[in-house]
């Protein structure tokens, strides 16, 4: 169990800050705990920034021209899946955050619908989907390391 004074407090610090115990044992590394209710990006901004959380978006000084990676059926699916992956890691250390869990459930539902649509047009993403098809389409289309989306735009 997480003790109350560690993570249960909701947003008592600024969004880019986390909570620390007032006294802590010596000789242990400490990283501030991310607070519940932290600000979150939309799925498009999350994928573009490499994190769901504005508070964890700490870019390097070398400016990379802003671009929107979400401009195709595949990247729309990738954006939904990215939010799920990010919430998965967050929930691993905040398993009692019901609000985040509800968001996780919501994105999993959206992803399942988007995946179904994507696979109907572009072919199976998994062997299970390949088996549900009329014929064996696993080998059709391009493999991920080639520039698939170029062909699909």
């Amino acid at each position: 169990m997480i003790s109350k004074n560690q993570t249960a407090q909701t947003a008592s610090c600024e969004d880019g800050s986390g909570t620390m115990p007032s006294c802590a044992p010596l000789a242990v590394p400490y990283v501030p705990f991310q607070q519940k209710g932290a600000k979150k990006y939309s799925q498009t901004d999350a994928l573009n920034n490499g994190t769901l959380f504005p508070g964890l978006n700490l870019p390097f000084r070398m400016k990379v021209p802003g671009r929107n990676a979400v401009d195709s059926a595949l990247s729309e699916l990738q954006a939904l899946e990215f939010v799920i992956a990010e919430l998965n890691l967050y929930l691993d250390t905040h398993s009692d955050d019901q609000e985040a869990f509800a968001l996780f459930q919501q994105y999993v539902k959206m992803e399942a619908e988007a995946r179904k649509k994507y696979e109907e047009t572009y072919g199976p993403l998994t062997l299970t989907a390949a088996a549900a098809d009329q014929r064996y389409r696993w080998l059709e289309g391009c493999w991920p390391w080639t520039d698939c989306e170029e062909e699909k735009r």
Binding site: Q6, P29, M62, E86, L89, D92, T93, P144
Partner: protein
């Protein structure tokens, strides 16, 4: 077990051939702070972890790192498409080319092949998670350095995404240490090794 999904975590769409960049970026495939080492480190450390939060986090981050390995492979593959002899000679890619042609091989940019010597599994909660904090920082610096060298916005875009993930992972490993500490001896977390002592 692992089941393959026929897509990358983040789009890799590189228009221009650039063997010089490929010869640097290969380090994140098989170099000392690369994605192969990262996935092996976390997926191996998880066995001796005693608490579900730690087992889960190492499994989930280790799995994501395999996705990053695939992205780095895609970047190197796309940067070395349709190479001419002249491009190989003038770019510094020739030593790699001699050994591997344009195949994707796990090696450091400096030419040292992948080695498990660059990762550690100590079988102790604090030792392993502290190693993971350092590992995320070293990978972050490698991506900083690649961004310094990159003159191609298509490449920088994907590298910037991977760099952002290192910071999120660092945060989660830090939180994991805190969660573990709560479950360990409150007076002296070094009194026993909960991964071994019963």
């Amino acid at each position: 077990m692992f089941a393959y999904e026929k897509k990358l975590q983040y789009p890799v769409r590189i228009k221009n051939t650039n063997p010089a960049l490929a010869s640097y970026i290969i380090s994140q495939y098989g170099g000392p702070d690369g994605e192969l080492g990262a996935s092996l480190r976390y997926l191996s450390q998880r066995y001796s972890m005693p608490y579900p939060e730690l087992q889960g986090l190492l499994t989930d981050i280790g799995t994501e790192e395999l996705g990053h390995l695939e992205m780095i492979g895609a970047i190197v593959y796309q940067l070395t498409r349709n190479l001419t002899d002249e491009q190989i000679k003038s770019s510094g890619f020739a030593p790699y080319f001699i050994d591997h042609t344009t195949g994707v091989y796990p090696t450091a940019a400096s030419g040292f092949p992948f080695s498990a010597g660059a990762l550690a599994v100590k079988g102790d909660i604090i030792a392993d998670l502290t190693e993971d904090l350092a590992a995320e920082q070293k990978a972050r610096v490698t991506y900083d350095n690649i961004l310094r060298m990159s003159d191609d916005p298509d490449v920088s875009d994907a590298i910037r995404f991977l760099r952002a993930r290192e910071i999120v992972h660092f945060q989660r490993f830090g939180e994991a240490i805190r969660l573990a500490k709560e479950k360990m001896d409150q007076k002296n977390i070094y009194y026993t090794n909960p991964a071994f002592d019963r």
